[in-house]
């Protein structure tokens, strides 16, 4: 079920009313209802994959219980590895089997050997990369003693399958979300209103910005061999805003929806395109994933302790794995490697923790130096996104070579570009709103400085109007759905 669909528009109010009015007699009842609603939400795509998420849930619940009983460190480690192998095994099979098979065959072919094998027709279950990491965080934290294993199976099912964030994050930590299922949720008017505001802003970013950028980005990337460098650069920019609008929009809708039910999810995007360096970018982009890798991979590997070689190794591992997590294609790995190259100089010169606060925190506008840094960081991320979007590494390089050719200095053109003129003011409008809301959890969180309710309501209505006028007609999936 897509957030930007009529199905969800019907589903959400029904679930909301039942949750607060019918299934509120006990916590257990309410959690059971959340679990049932979440399974319905997930099964809407394909009911067969419910067995997979149930398998992941049951196995990690039992492993968690076992970790709570077993004291022998060797056995505990074994249980942990069992969880890791099971979860990553499921992920690996569904997401990466064909990738490894194809590359295995290519290696054999390069060595002059013939190797026949046919790829499997494997459908990637929606959200698998997200919920496997979420359950893994539980078993790892139980192993480390950060939390006690839960004996409440219903709460655990609800935690793993919680529908607002099941399919595309934020990837919640068990230490943060699971306790929320164990205490009574109180409906707070302000929290619910904030939730609706966040949903609204998320829908704007997704349906107005991302979906319209996608039309042009897709065309330009699919026909890149016929287009000029300036048009390709425009395509890269369209994709830059597409992926931001899509992914941060989804996160906003997820977090806003969770607020309606009294839950507090972690912030996943903190205005990353206003970052002053790449290190800051990675503190602001897909925060739940980058902190997951930091805590469960980077730090256990040694982090930034140790010598230069170790730091370089760990940095590359993190970024390559992060890239690979996004998809079974060399383009994602190259994308990750590129970000590692961007990040390393900052790490090695100990400048990676410079810009920790909000840019231009005490003013309305950035300084010239800040503006320059933001522009450079933005430019680097745009170049890297070309690899993320391209069909192959070769395609990405051809794309970039054409951008940096003399045809960069021609007027961008293709027949459909004329219709993109609305994006010329919609994207800056989004950036302006996000800029002035950059100190908040989401752009339009704090509008109480507008004293008159009528004006606030007019502003929200204007956003709804813009969604109605500019939205792309077809229901469109979120990019991260099939990750």
């Amino acid at each position: 079920m897509l957030f930007n669909s009529i199905d969800f528009a019907v589903f959400l109010p029904i679930v909301f009313l039942l949750y607060w009015f019918v299934f509120n007699r006990s916590l257990r009842q309410q959690n059971l209802f959340v679990a049932a609603a979440s399974y319905l939400f997930y099964g809407w795509w394909d009911w067969r994959f419910l067995f997979l998420i149930l398998l992941s849930t049951v196995s990690d619940f039992l492993i968690g219980r076992a970790l709570g009983k077993v004291e022998d460190s060797g056995k505990r480690k074994l249980l942990l590895w069992l969880s890791i192998i099971l979860n990553l095994g499921i992920l690996g099979y569904f997401k990466y089997f064909n990738f490894f098979l194809d590359n295995f065959i290519s290696v054999f072919t390069m060595m002059g050997q013939e190797f026949r094998a046919s790829s499997l027709q494997i459908i990637l279950p929606v959200g698998i990369s997200f919920y496997t990491f979420q359950t893994l965080s539980y078993t790892i934290d139980v192993y480390k003693g950060k939390m006690n294993p839960t004996r409440d199976f219903i709460s655990f099912v609800a935690f793993v399958s919680f529908f607002p964030q099941l399919v595309a994050g934020p990837i919640e930590r068990a230490t943060h979300l699971l306790p929320q299922f164990k205490k009574e949720r109180i409906f707070r008017y302000d929290q619910a209103v904030n939730g609706l505001r966040q949903i609204l802003w998320g829908l704007f970013k997704k349906m107005v910005i991302a979906d319209n950028c996608a039309i042009y980005a897709n065309y330009i990337f699919e026909n890149s061999e016929h287009l000029s460098g300036s048009t390709l650069l425009l395509g890269a920019l369209f994709f830059t805003f597409q992926i931001y609008g899509d992914f941060s929009g989804y996160s906003d809708i997820a977090i806003g929806t969770a607020r309606l039910f009294g839950f507090n999810l972690m912030q996943n995007f903190a205005f990353p395109y206003f970052s002053r360096d790449i290190a800051e970018f990675w503190r602001r982009w897909h925060i739940s994933l980058s902190t997951w890798f930091r805590d469960y991979l980077y730090i256990p590997l040694g982090g930034s302790r140790g010598g230069t070689a170790l730091k370089v190794r760990n940095t590359f591992i993190i970024f390559l794995v992060s890239g690979f997590w996004h998809g079974a294609n060399w383009t994602f790995i190259v994308w990750g490697a590129l970000h590692a190259l961007y990040f390393l100089p900052l790490l090695l010169t100990k400048q990676n923790r410079q810009n920790l606060g909000v840019v231009a925190e005490n003013g309305y506008f950035p300084t010239l130096e800040e503006f320059f840094k933001i522009s450079v960081t933005f430019g680097l991320t745009v170049l890297a996104w070309v690899f993320f979007r391209a069909e192959s590494v070769h395609h990405a390089f051809s794309f970039l070579f054409e951008i940096f050719s003399p045809s960069l200095f021609t007027i961008p053109y293709y027949e459909g570009l004329g219709h993109a003129k609305s994006l010329l003011y919609l994207i800056p409008l989004m950036l302006i709103v996000e800029w002035f809301g950059r100190s908040n959890q989401f752009a339009i969180e704090n509008l109480n400085f507008i004293k008159l309710r009528t004006i606030r309501w007019a502003f929200y209505s204007l956003i709804i109007f813009m969604i109605g006028v500019f939205m792309y007609e077809e229901e469109t999936a979120f990019i991260y759905f099939q990750f």
């Binding site: 607060w20 309501w457 109007f465 109605g468 007609e473």
Partner: protein
């Protein structure tokens, strides 16, 4: 806590009412920024259709209909034709327009000019075209057509033009922008004064007929049969590369055959030059139109003769 929830629901309801009123006002204001969709003179065509009493042949279809069937050439051979084509028209719009005009125009024969995209497109663009060009020029209500799509964009356009009717003292009619290279000819033809085409390459386009289009075709066939009128299904010429890019055309043939129709494909019946006779991959220039119309009239006479 329940008090808080009721307060939330109450305020939410008030907001929805506020938002709805706001939306209507802004849609009306937004309408001032809209030009009438430049659609190949559909407004003139509809205006004419209201005033004609009877035709021998009614031609339906997309821009390929109003660019390819020249009433002057048909008249020389004794056929009074009217072309009720519109830009990007699909079967949904064809059926709708036919229903509005079949009793008024009383055609002896309908020529339905088709091409593969008509069976696969969602038809929204064509509906917007009809909405924006119809309300001053036509005697029908587009609400039914709007409901067939159930899309916000279509409803937005519908509201704009509906409000223009409700508030005549404020609304204004925006002039259609005619292109200088086009010439509107009486009875629905739009002549391209000049132009030749280049050959282009096209990606394969796998044709999958959508359910709404299939249902619209079923309704169209019933409409024609109930009116006791004959219908012939033509595919006027297009560039070879364009035609070859369409795959799975058997699905269209099957649909037509299921209703007892045959596709008269003039790409096979006529040998035209892709550059000399076309001004773009899908449209003939006047030179191509003349060649096509002569052949179509010749074949028409044979087809009608065979049927009799």
């Amino acid at each position: 806590m329940k008090k808080e929830i009721f307060r939330f629901i109450k305020k939410g309801s008030y907001f929805l009412i506020f938002c709805f009123l706001f939306y209507i006002v802004f849609i009306w204001l937004w309408g001032f920024t809209l030009d009438t969709i430049d659609s190949g003179e559909l407004n003139k065509r509809l205006e004419e259709a209201e005033n004609i009493e009877k035709v021998d042949i009614l031609v339906l279809g997309s821009s390929r209909a109003y660019r390819h069937y020249d009433p002057r050439i048909f008249k020389e051979e004794g056929y009074e034709i009217f072309v009720l084509g519109s830009s990007a028209q699909t079967i949904i719009q064809s059926e709708f327009l036919l229903r509005q005009y079949i009793e008024h125009l009383k055609p002896d024969l309908i020529i339905y000019d088709v091409y593969p995209n008509m069976f696969t497109s969602n038809g929204v663009e064509s509906t917007l075209d009809i909405i924006s060009n119809s309300n001053r020029n036509a005697n029908f209500n587009t609400q039914e057509l709007v409901r067939m799509h159930d899309r916000i964009k279509v409803w937005n356009y519908f509201f704009v033009y509906y409000l223009r009717e409700l508030l005549p003292q404020i609304s204004f009619h925006q002039q259609n922008r005619s292109r200088p290279e086009d010439k509107y000819v009486e009875n629905g033809f739009l002549e391209k004064k000049s132009g030749t085409a280049e050959k282009e390459n096209f990606r394969d386009n796998n044709i999958r007929i959508t359910e709404p289009q299939k249902e619209a075709f079923n309704r169209l066939v019933r409409l024609v049969k109930n009116a006791k009128t004959d219908m012939l299904i033509f595919q006027s010429p297009m560039q070879d590369n364009k035609l070859e890019s369409y795959k799975n055309l058997e699905s269209i043939d099957s649909l037509l055959e299921a209703h007892g129709y045959k596709l008269y494909d003039f790409n096979k019946r006529l040998d035209l030059n892709d550059t000399i006779h076309f001004y773009d991959p899908l449209h003939l220039n006047q030179k191509g139109v003349e060649e096509f119309n002569i052949k179509a009239i010749e074949d028409l006479a044979n087809i009608i003769g065979q049927k009799e």
